[in-house]
């Protein structure tokens, strides 16, 4: 039986150091393993709570996308080399199972369907692709994004896919018919900067709560100097059915931050991780306040996060080469 959540007591309980700055992380479904990726092109599997690690080599570039299969036995990684690799994550000696050259350019995000059979991947080639989890066979692809796609998730019933791009467009796709159904406007997350002749921002993270009937999309805004890392984290809360913006969550006092990932806790609280010149921060939001209701400073700039609801644990990975595990209670 897990201890009740008290977000005000959130604190780090484990930290393990690697050899290179870390990029992304995901908990295994059982909460006993965390997969992380790093700037040396490797993926590591870290045992929780022991911290023993195994290093997986197979990508020729950084890995931004990680996802465990439903049974937790396999891990799929998507790299900036455009490659998907399946790994036997829970084997005594984890190894590569298969690899697929999936996208032209970077893979930005992947997700596995609720029935465990289909993998969705998105990337810089502006394509959303569907793969058989069992065989790696391409099942189909969808186009419609005009710029790089940063995020993707399956609706809990598996019938829809949701993907977000640089321009702040969130597309909702019918999986069976492979077609675009509607688009939600998240352009507050898009930050073109004419002075620097640069485009910045985008829908960096998405999370859907059926019980709340809400979709959250995160990233950044107020990018007055994107080249100098001056931008603030932003979380948008939409009604899932109507696509209407219900709340714009801002974070005062965080002049340098990007909301790399946002997720839902079981009680309906939204949690996000911000990393930037203001440091690494866990931010908590509810539906009554625009500003965050609580924040927990992390020891170093964070770049990704994953919540394991069963144990009320949060894995975060950091530039200072540490994987940290926090708990949402005393």
């Amino acid at each position: 039986m897990s201890i009740p959540v008290d977000i005000t007591k959130t604190h780090v309980v484990h930290q393990w150091k690697y050899d290179a700055p870390l990029i992304a992380c995901r908990f295994a479904p059982d909460g006993l393993q965390v997969a992380a990726s790093s700037e040396d092109n490797t993926v590591q599997l870290w045992k929780v709570p022991g911290g023993e690690k195994q290093v997986l080599k197979g990508h020729d570039s950084w890995v931004h996308a990680l996802c465990y299969t439903q049974d937790g036995q396999q891990l799929v990684s998507g790299g900036c080399d455009g490659r998907l690799i399946w790994w036997s994550a829970k084997a005594e000696t984890p190894a590569e199972i298969r690899r697929v050259d999936a996208h032209a350019g970077w893979i930005r995000a992947i997700a596995i369907s609720p029935d465990g059979n289909t993998l969705a991947s998105v990337g810089n080639d502006r394509l959303l692709k569907l793969w058989s989890v069992a065989t790696g066979e391409l099942l189909g692809q969808m186009e419609g994004h005009e710029r790089h796609i940063y995020s993707v998730l399956f609706h809990p019933d598996g019938s829809k896919l949701v993907s977000g791009d640089l321009l702040g467009k969130i597309h909702i796709w019918n999986v069976a018919e492979r077609k675009l159904e509607r688009t939600i406007d998240a352009t507050p997350l898009y930050e073109p900067n004419k002075g620097q002749a640069a485009e910045y921002g985008g829908v960096r993270t998405l999370a859907l709560s059926l019980s709340r009937g809400e979709l959250i999309a995160g990233g950044t805004h107020k990018a007055t100097n994107p080249f100098g890392a001056v931008h603030e984290p932003l979380l948008l809360r939409f009604g899932w059915e109507d696509g209407v913006l219900r709340k714009t969550h801002v974070c005062d006092g965080v002049p340098g931050g990007m909301l790399w990932r946002a997720q839902w806790l079981e009680d309906g609280t939204a949690i996000g991780v911000s990393g930037g010149s203001t440091g690494g921060i866990l931010l908590f939001f509810n539906d009554t306040q625009e500003k965050d209701i609580h924040r927990t400073m992390l020891p170093s700039l964070a770049r990704d996060m994953d919540v394991h609801l069963g144990s009320n644990s949060i894995a975060t990975i950091h530039y200072d080469t540490h994987l940290r595990v926090s708990v949402l209670n005393a």
């Binding site: 700037e39 900036c80 080249f227």
Partner: protein
Amino acid sequence: MSFAHYACGSKEHGINRRRFLQRTCSTAVAGTAVVGGLGSLTAGKAAEQLKSQDMRVVVFNMHGGLSQLESWDPKPGTRTGGPCRSIPTSVPGIHISDLLPNTAKQMHHLCLLRGVNTAEDDHGKGAYMMLTGRRQSAAADYPQIGAVSAKMLNDESKGLPGHIVVAPSGGGGRGNESAYLGPKYSSVALSGSTPPPHTLRPDGISDQAEVRRHEMRRRINQEFLNRKRTAITDAYTHSYEQALRLMERRDVFDISKEPAADLDRYGKHDFGRQCLMARRLVENGVSFVQVTHSNYDTHNDNFNFHIEQLGEFDQGFSHFVNDIAERGMLDKTLIVVLSEFGRTPNINLYYGRDHWSKAWSIVMAGGKVARGAVYGATNAEGTEVTDGQVDHGALFHTYLQAVGVDSNQSIAVDGRELPIADPAVQPVWKVLT
């Protein structure tokens, strides 16, 4: 004057948006104290011969500091390599970044110089060094490569300015580009897709009225010049005459005259249009064109920004090089891709790279430059030059030698012999054929 918000907040990053006429006139005010500003070449006959050869220079200025690791000197799989990979090029054994797939197909025309060490990490100072071949000092000011090219190469009988800067939103020339050469050789700034502003005669002015207006202006000018002639008055006079010639040849600056298919090929973005403008200008005999591509000052999110920026650059630049070569102009056209410096091998906590001048790269092509070649090298992580180190002074000499200018000669200005390039250094002879 307003300045854009750049990461470094440096004044040098500001883009001056003054229009062409204001620009050409104001440079006179910024000029050094050289009366007349019309220094003459020591070897006049040789100079005329050179001008008749129609040599041209096109500089692509990667504003803010292009990352050598995401372009010309990738280090994939190393601590400093980042997520980008290297790809083979049209020259076996030479690899460049996978962000430049189309440029890779033009490698047989290019020469990579991977051992650049300029030891200057400040934007303004670095840009000055790369464009003048000298360090900035309070004691002297030096002309930029564009001004020197205009003086040495431009055939004024064609009625076109010899020094053109194509920059985003019509911004352009700043500071004292022509120094002791005088404002006559300062740049004319273009937006890249449209002719210079205010170069159409108003409908209400007839041919006869136009002639009378200019006769009156010249007469008044001459009366004034008879009493008081300075560099500033010369600059004003020259600006008006140059504007008149521009009005006559306005079509040269209109890229809508180019085939629609070329616009598609080069890319329907500012940089694509600017590259097409550069092609049109050199085809019409302009001796120097600088195309500015902004912005590469990526202290934050270096890789995403380089994907965006180099995507544009790769499309426009590769077609430009290919077209210049296919049209038989490469022997007479020097192409240079430079920045004020490179970017740090170290990847910072924001996925960014900072300023780095100790080991970076530039590219040259055309003229007398060796084709399909690499000169210089850096170590495995790109932190130091290990072979073929060159600096801004040697590069400046090399640009000039590549278009047939003896960079060791001097220019006589008010009786003083001023070396065109730093006499303490020599060209990189090994990259010249």
